[in-house]
């Protein structure tokens, strides 16, 4: 137990966490009748046990690989540290693609043992819902159980392996300057009309998520295309005003704040609302016809080095306590019924009405990561954005561009 972490790793090897749980589970069954032997076994196995189940230490903390801004989630992490001061954690704020890479990075076999890149993260949080679903479908998540899991809404979990724990409306945002020249858009139709009629003012001043290089942007575009057949017209109109493509909401917000952009489409409401509070020049508009809702998903990695700590974190995240922090101190909106605070899904629904269309964690998301489908969709999007019309209807329909018959 006094061994340094590196040596411990070598002595037990890179055994998957499963090994540790097997040892600890079988042990009492075999030797429970004779207590002294049990104690002896515990003493002998103690080193390997603690080394393999790996209680997080300062040198080897619980790693959370997340596509979630640290300053947004900081209150939640603080609450966790307060509740579990013995669990040191490292929050790695990454892009969705980096997060997805980190999930499978250790499986590729590259990297030196013990190095950060080759080990799996403990907890994975990402807003790129289709990719999270795909990894879970591939069996890379641990199934959890417990009272917090059972209380979690059925529609916001899949196989008890992955949990959608936020409820973030997708919004439009505009700079105050815009409203001096035109009526700010309130619906997708308004936006389309503005892009068509006010191209003089708006050219180069519109921004949106890139469906080509951002997982979130791609997901939102796919979902938009599923809900509205006129989405492609909007894409074409955005292309005509030379819309700038960004990969993060933060970049779009900063652009608006600095005056580079006047209008942003498909921003994550969670970030935008907080940002708008501090930047009065940015106005957030929840579309009044329909508004997509993105749900960030978290799971415990199958090969998590700190299984127990990771499960503790996710349970805390889903617990009343965690969700109260989420609803009270972060703009992520809690979906847990009974939680009160300024940011809850229930409250959002009463404010915005029934036009919220959450993207639910279910198997349909798996289609979005299908390479052939993705390629067809991005090809079509690019063509529309660049003003080409010549694409057959079948591709539009097949890729979800048209509403289902």
């Amino acid at each position: 137990m006094s061994l340094p972490p590196g040596q411990r790793l070598r002595s037990c090897g890179r055994l998957p966490a499963r090994c540790a749980t097997q040892v600890t589970r079988r042990q009492p069954l075999v030797v429970s009748p004779c207590l002294p032997l049990l104690l002896l076994m515990l003493l002998l196995l103690g080193g390997c046990h603690s080394g393999d189940s790996r209680t997080p230490t300062d040198e080897d903390p619980l790693v959370i690989s997340a596509a979630l801004d640290l300053d947004v989630v900081a209150p939640l992490l603080d609450a966790f540290r307060q509740a579990y001061p013995q669990i040191p954690l490292r929050f790695e704020d990454r892009t969705t693609r980096e997060v997805d890479d980190s999930v499978v990075g250790h499986l590729a076999g590259g990297g030196v043992e013990g190095e950060g890149t080759s080990r799996a993260p403990d907890v994975v949080i990402s807003s790129a819902m289709p990719w999270q679903m795909a990894r879970v479908n591939e069996g890379l998540a641990r199934r959890l159980n417990g009272p917090e899991i059972e209380r979690w809404p059925e529609w916001a979990r899949w196989r008890d392996e992955v949990f959608a724990f936020t409820f973030e409306p997708v919004v439009m945002a505009y700079r105050l300057d815009l409203s001096r020249h035109m009526l700010p858009p309130q619906t997708h139709g308004d936006l389309h009309a503005l892009l068509a009629t006010q191209a003089r003012w708006l050219t180069g001043k519109v921004t949106t998520y890139s469906p080509l290089s951002s997982g979130v942007g791609y997901t939102l575009a796919q979902q938009d295309a599923r809900y509205s057949s006129r989405f492609w017209e909007l894409v074409g109109a955005m292309g005509r005003v030379d819309t700038r493509l960004e990969t993060t909401t933060r970049a779009m917000l900063e652009g608006l704040s600095q005056g580079r952009y006047w209008l942003g489409y498909n921003l994550l409401g969670s970030y935008a609302m907080v940002y708008a509070q501090e930047h009065p020049e940015v106005i957030v508009q929840v579309p009044r016809d329909y508004s997509l809702v993105l749900m960030r998903m978290a799971f415990v990695h199958r090969d998590a080095p700190h299984v127990e700590a990771a499960e503790t974190f996710v349970r805390f995240l889903l617990s009343q306590r965690g969700q109260r922090v989420l609803a009270g101190q972060t703009p992520l909106f809690s979906v847990l019924p009974g939680v009160t605070g300024p940011y809850t899904a229930a409250r959002l629904r009463t404010q915005v009405g029934e036009r919220l269309y959450p993207i639910l964690p279910n198997a349909t998301l798996l289609a979005f990561v299908d390479p052939a489908r993705r390629e067809a969709f991005t090809d079509h999007w690019r063509a529309r954005f660049q003003g080409e019309q010549a694409l057959d209807e079948a591709v539009e329909r097949g890729s979800g561009a048209l509403a289902p018959e």
Partner: protein
Amino acid sequence: MIEVEGSLKRRLGGWLVVTVGVLGLALMVEAWVSSQRAAARAFDAQLQAAALTIAEAVRWQDGIPQVVVPAAALQILATDSQARVFYAVLDDDGRTLSRNWPVDIPVAWQQALDEGGMSRDLTTTLGELRLHAQRVASAGWVTQLPVQVWVGHTLEGRRALARSLFERSLSRFIAMVLLTGVLMGLTMRAALSPLRRLRRQIRGRGADDFSPLAARVPKELHELAQALDHLFARQRQGREDLLRFTADASHQLKTPLAGLKTVSELGLRSSDPDEWRQALTRVHARAEDTSRLAGQLLSLARLRHLDRETALPALDLGELVRDVALDWAARERAAEHDLGLGSLPAEPLKVCVEGWALREALGNLIDNALRYTPTGCEITLHLSREGDWARLSIVDDGPGVADAALATLGQPFQRGGRQDTEGSGLGLAIVDTTARRMGARVQFANRSPQGLEVVLWLPLAKDEQDVTGAFAAGVNPGEST
């Protein structure tokens, strides 16, 4: 000795358990198999639907297949139970057009796949998969490469559905068993209640209560109740016999004792030693008679307890009748009557009875005739054979008996309705009892123009056979005449 052998309730319960156990096992196996089958059918249909949906999305551009996986197909594939889903679209050469998961599909399966489709179970690192494949070819202007659509999902949904179907059948079955048990208990309570009633009734009877049962019983218990009733009747009869016998015995002893008393008083009153001697002689004779009578009564009493199987020697009835007749004719009391023998059969009639008992009965009958007929009357003894029976009759030409009194003549203290005699009224009763002991029957009938005939029917000994059989006379001799 009553031995308790098992319990009806336990036996019925045991049968119920065995029946339910065997039946239940069969039912459970059936339910398990059919729930598995039903779940498999339901989920295979989902697989087929998903495969079809993906197949519909295949497009051929210039003869080259392209597929854009429809999102709905994956939701169908995942089902409500959120199974892991797998899909692959391959061309006939095994090249992948689209797939979500590197599951290796055995080449043999790929080659065997035809338009009919194929369902297979495949074990992967993530557990068991149920696969369904469909081969899609589309007619077209240019030659088109057919594609294979493979879809699959993990088995949680099937298992959960099968389990819930099975649990439902199981709970139904358990409820049925419990209900059957309760009903069985109630039925048994109800079925055994007549027995309980009977038990209560018998327990509640007084020690000397031999009256027939008055109980409502089901058909199954009727024979038992009847047997009990017969037992009571026999006991009643036995008790009555005993009482009558005791009364008879007392009566028989009382008369000679009274005579002794009289003779001894007369002797004491005189002072002549000769008269003393005479009295003593008479006392002695009387005492001898009395002791003989007491001895006979004792024997009679013992006879009641004698084993009926005991063999008795056969004796000649004709000789006995002659002896008795001669004995009585010589007596002083018969002097005023005309006591005679009627017809006697030539051959000997053998009967298996106690000689002394028959003598006693016959004597009683003669004594009776002498006592109840006026002087000068004719008393004749007849003996004849009728079938297996000997017919011994004592006929007098006295006044006879009122027809109404005939039936009760055999009962004690009847005296044929007459109060004018010195008889005790027990003579014929003793005859009746004795006859019954011997297996004989007594019949009383008035004669015309006047007189009474008492007939004693005695079963004849079966010469070559077991003589005890004679006691078990089946035919009532009275009815045969």
